[in-house]
Subunit: 416 residues, 2 copies
Amino acid sequence: MTENKYADDVYTGATEIAGGRLIRSQGVTSPAGFRAAGIPAGIKISGRQDLALVVNEGPELTAAGVFTMNKVKAAPVLWSQQVLKSGSLRAVILNSGGANACTGAGGFQDTHATAEAVADALSNWGTETGAGEVAVCSTGLIGDRLPMDKVLSGVQEIVHELAGGISGGTDAAYAIMTTDTVPKQAALHHADKWNVGGMAKGAGMLAPALATMLCVVTTDAVATAEQLDTALRHASRLTFDRLDVDGATSTNDTVLLLASGASGITPSQDDLNAAVLAVCDDLAEQMMADAEGVTKRVTVTVRGAVSEADALIGARTVARDSLVKTALFGSDPNWGRVLAAIGIAPIELDPDKISVSFNGNPVCIDGVGAPGAREVDLSAADIALDIDLGLGDAQVSIRTTDLSHAYVEENSAYSS
Amino acid sequence: MTENKYADDVYTGATEIAGGRLIRSQGVTSPAGFRAAGIPAGIKISGRQDLALVVNEGPELTAAGVFTMNKVKAAPVLWSQQVLKSGSLRAVILNSGGANACTGAGGFQDTHATAEAVADALSNWGTETGAGEVAVCSTGLIGDRLPMDKVLSGVQEIVHELAGGISGGTDAAYAIMTTDTVPKQAALHHADKWNVGGMAKGAGMLAPALATMLCVVTTDAVATAEQLDTALRHASRLTFDRLDVDGATSTNDTVLLLASGASGITPSQDDLNAAVLAVCDDLAEQMMADAEGVTKRVTVTVRGAVSEADALIGARTVARDSLVKTALFGSDPNWGRVLAAIGIAPIELDPDKISVSFNGNPVCIDGVGAPGAREVDLSAADIALDIDLGLGDAQVSIRTTDLSHAYVEENSAYSS
């Protein structure tokens, strides 16, 4: 895991991890065999980039995906789940400016028509493609139909903009942004000459199981759909599923992993898992840092639990507690609220064995306040909240944020 | 149930309900046989009233209580649960200015010493009392020991201030306030010449099962401890357990019901249930209206559920959703967030059968937006959010509030 790699807010630099070199500012076109583009198609009223396309040029087209666990699923989620049953994807078309959720049968037809248009355009461009090889992702306001004239003319245009290298992926990363303030990309160049790249958007509704997020990860490794599925589920469970800004789960969450096999290298499952995990972990960290209204980047760790499941529930309960989150916004080491929050988690605990620290400073030992607890300085942007249940060996960390005026402002001032 | 009885924020007026007349501004000393007092004992730095005492002068001393379900329980909760096993209480001593939670063995000794002091003071005053007949309630910041010199001298003083009628109860209601802006009282005068009166405090941490709250309800009816327990659990389940401001549950929640039998009237269990319910319901409504940072009083109703349990979980999930709550703060009829919120509730639902209305205006019908949905006016302070799952007959309403700048301010600006 790659916590606190960056001392400031600039997403740059490189890290040695998972047998390779992780670089921010490179994304889905970093692995060989992928091209991408992002354009303004007029879906967003602002006129900003709002349509992205990622194309796998092969030679292989294996793919895997994980989707929102919300029972209310957007049309593009229902579509993409269906096409992914084949374990194969040629392309992913993504739009911001509208979620196409709660739009009924008409909305599903819009998604289908979009996939058809992408397939036709790619076929005309020389890459024979069927609609069933095209995943669709949408993000934005729930409940409105998409302006399909703009989407379809955008599809015609975007295939002409496809590019490899850094530019295509970066354009795509910009085009999927909603309330994100920065694009989010990461690429891992493995020492064995294969690569993994990813882009993500997600700034609010970051949630229990999958943040509100669209994420496309690519690799030029050779891997079966099953191997990709294993690697993606492993990574999601440890990264996106442990990012919880406000307990909300989107109707549109989608994470896709596409492999081109263009490197000719077949990594072991462990190496593939580690590389995909490193990229997803970095993207999750970027999403936390850019969450709506964030002024504190908070890692809640529950250790000493009797099981990983208990540690996860405990950490999530504290990470979602509004009173803990507002205290952290106020840089207030109000550990009593942490005890009150963990105390309602449906897990095994003994109130007299709970110890709490902020940034390594003990504030509560065996259920009782520690000397100097009220004076701990939490004025910096990064806060590590550590809760030791004192019962077992299991440990889980959840990334979250504070609850700030800016969060309220951003989520009340307009429909998003 | 008594929703929206009051068109404005002034807690006055009377309502015919439960076979009697409900009046705000009268509280625990409204029934015969009770005296109460509230004084400034110096526990709060502000110098405001912070110590309250309610005494049952009999002839009967039956009592019942419900307590926080938080596993982290404050010392006074542990004490009061223990003494209530007898089904009998002479007095309740309550302090604001400190929760006496997470204070270890020393904190429990402080609670015990407080009960002993009350028993001694009442005995010296001519009412023979044992410490085991005195419940203790505390509210305020978690984690600090109480200033026991002030508590104990306050106990000596407060017995001299005990009074019946309106004044004693009102003084007590003021003394238990923390971030409450108004005292909360309600009394029901039954047509059959018996009475129920109550006071409560609670403005934040209002929660899943019991709001953060202290509440004392008294009656001059003749009733056994078992009958009181039945009436109190029935009322709590339908009122305090359905008030959910921020999903947090306090370490100190306590609701007590004491009966003096002074009226000589023995009501039926149904009549007792109805009267206690009416008083608790009114107090819960007052707590919602005075919740920390409230700008909207919101009732979330889930109907058409397959079971009451499902309706309750669904309503609670929506009532706690930060994105729904911030939208309501912004008077934004953003029904897509309501769909996204209900979609993560672990209940039976069919996305294509869900309909939503705000204040009676349909905004979503069978999972799809209704015409004019974005134009619904939510600028008034009261919002009824109605979600019909279209599956069955069960229905539950939860009272909640919006998530406002004032909530963030109040909970981040100082330790509380």
